[in-house]
């Protein structure tokens, strides 16, 4: 098992190197002089300031040397400094990640509970109105943009009914609407996956055997079928977690919540590239490591999978 974990982590290294190159090159995609673009609109732009920003960003040396110095700083945990506040990117992110973590975990929990429940309902009631309704809802769920579901929820539960606050951070009441909005797409994807996977498992011989033994349908579905049906669904959950992380940019902006996504968004508007690079790099790292964890979780759900 340990050797499998190390092997899987080693496989992620080239991807992470590639990602670091892409993130590093972002600043060089800027048309024209990146320093002038970043300082656009700021008062008192002097040649000294331009030279200082260029030096701080390490743009005054050849490209390969810039990358080597960038990657060696990143490995040491130094993601650079914000152009506008002068604070380290790491410190800027420190205050934001708990809110994003809270939001993504709450959304994923909502998406899994909703998705697995709806998918199971649709599968056991296959061909009935329940199945059609669930599939209709899930089709709508994957088609609705995050910002639109967020605004609909704000309009209904905050502006019209006045039940929940629309913006800000703190307490479960402020978490409910953004978490649910972020979960809509993903619960729909999970529901479709669970339904299709459960239908396949329910046609297996061992399910017939369980029924022949006289087990209650609920026990057959939950104990025998669902556990096996969840293995493919876990992959989707892992992949969807990435989309969820990306979706925080939109949801945190719609709900005016602080968080990594909103930090990235405001940094993009302010052309504060070290922050954009830092947030993107951290989110990708989390996503890659999460996929490794998803890979490892198969063994827990399916004892037939061995990591020798």
């Amino acid at each position: 098992m340990l050797s499998y974990i190390s092997k899987r982590l080693l496989q992620a290294v080239p991807v992470l190197i590639g990602v670091s190159i892409l993130v590093f090159l972002l600043i060089h995609l800027i048309p024209g002089d990146p320093v002038l673009v970043m300082l656009q609109g700021s008062p008192n732009v002097t040649p000294e300031l331009i030279a200082e920003v260029r030096r701080n960003l390490g743009l005054d040396v050849p490209l390969p040397q810039q990358y080597l110095s960038y990657i060696s700083r990143v490995i040491r945990g130094d993601l650079g400094k914000s152009i506008w506040t002068g604070q380290s990117v790491w410190r800027e992110m420190q205050g934001q990640w708990p809110s994003t973590f809270e939001l993504t975990v709450a959304s994923m929990a909502t998406a899994v509970v909703l998705g697995v429940t709806l998918g199971t309902l649709a599968a056991v009631r296959r061909g009935t109105w329940v199945d059609s309704t669930v599939m209709g809802i899930s089709q709508l769920g994957v088609s609705i943009p995050l910002f639109w579901s967020g605004l609909i929820l704000i309009f209904l539960f905050s502006l019209t009914l006045g039940w929940l606050p629309a913006t800000g951070v703190g307490g479960w009441k402020r978490l409910l609407l953004p978490a649910f909005a972020l979960a809509t797409n993903y619960s729909a994807v999970i529901a479709r996956m669970v339904r299709s996977s459960l239908l396949e498992v329910l046609s297996q011989d061992y399910i017939r055997t369980a029924r022949a033994k006289g087990l209650a349908e609920l026990q057959v579905t939950l104990h025998h079928a669902l556990r096996n049906a969840l293995i493919p669904a876990i992959t989707i959950v892992g992949l969807q977690f990435g989309n969820l992380l990306g979706g925080t940019v939109v949801i945190e902006t719609v709900f005016s919540r602080q968080g990594l996504g909103r930090l990235a968004y405001t940094a993009i508007l302010a052309k504060d590239f070290p922050i954009v690079q830092g947030v993107v790099l951290v989110l990708v790292l989390v996503y890659v490591l999460l996929n490794v964890a998803v890979d490892l979780s198969y063994g827990l759900l399916d004892p037939r999978i061995r990591y020798d």
Binding site: L16, V23, V37, I144, P145, L151, L159, L244, V284, Y287
Partner: protein, 273 residues
């Protein structure tokens, strides 16, 4: 095509999509008002016989902006998918046909791009290139291209093992002929499905980027941007955001239904559930 037309959901999707495309094409004639010209005296009027979808806070007709915005929203999605196909097709073809180190190299490149979660890659590219419609289309095109590389690679790898490909090689056909005449035919079906599905994704990302203010700039009418315009006035003038919002949702729903229908129609092994 016959199988697609027998699928009720796909037909429903085609009908919605057809209607929206028609509205977009006829926008200059059915819009009734100039979508850009401001009219402060008509500010934030609710839907009425005069203004079907009401007016926004600048007094512009929301119906005119919505149908005109359909043109830009649909075009953005189509151009973005075309860009992603243009970027992803050749590497996918080469990786699948040649295999070996070039396949491994392209594969790692694809892995790196797919490591960016959700809209993050598009967002990062737009952040670098700067806001604007063309940059949004390019960014989405780049971020969706790995999907096409993988699809084309997979199809080519499967197709090149067929006996007729072996026969074509045996009679002396060049690589270009084998690829062009015998293998590409096998890619067309899955490519059509993928293009439709990707169009839905592209529109989702594009409207999100426009909503965030990274794409089209005011006063150009576009669904995502118009929805953002009305978000602060949801309590007093819900119609400013609601109509573009529903148009986005139903267009993507329609594209997804057609995509699902196409997949079912082109995959004979798929069990209908």
């Amino acid at each position: 095509m016959r199988r697609l037309l027998k699928n009720g959901s796909a037909l429903f999707g085609l009908a919605i999509l057809g209607t929206i495309v028609m509205l977009a094409l006829l926008a200059p004639w059915i819009g009734r008002f100039d979508p850009i010209k401001q009219n402060p005296r008509e500010s934030s009027r609710p839907p009425s016989a005069d203004h079907l979808f009401g007016t926004d806070r600048f007094g512009r007709d929301v119906w005119a902006r919505t149908v005109t915005g359909a043109r830009l929203s649909l075009r953005t999605g189509i151009v973005a998918v075309a860009v992603s196909m243009a970027i992803g097709f050749v590497p996918g073809l080469v990786a699948g046909y040649r295999g070996g180190w070039i396949d491994a190299l392209i594969g790692r490149g694809v892995d790196v791009m797919l490591a960016f979660p959700g809209i993050l890659l598009s967002l990062a590219i737009v952040a670098a290139l700067g806001p604007g419609l063309h940059n949004v289309q390019l960014a989405i095109g780049i971020s969706l291209s790995p999907t096409f590389v993988r699809l084309v690679r997979g199809c080519v790898m499967a197709a090149k093992e067929n006996t007729y490909v072996e026969a074509a090689r045996a009679v002396g056909c060049s690589d270009a002929v084998v690829l062009g005449r015998h293998i590409l035919v096998n890619i067309l079906g899955p490519m059509t499905v993928m293009t439709t599905v990707a169009l839905g994704w592209a529109m989702l990302i594009a409207t999100s980027l426009n909503f965030l203010g990274m794409g089209v700039q005011p006063p150009t009418p576009e669904w995502g941007a118009d929805l953002a315009l009305g978000r602060d006035h949801m309590r007093t003038a819900w119609w400013i955001s609601a109509f573009p919002g529903f148009f986005i949702m139903f267009t993507i729903l329609a594209i997804n239904l057609v995509g699902d229908g196409l997949r079912d129609a082109t995959d004979p092994s798929l069990e209908i559930r």
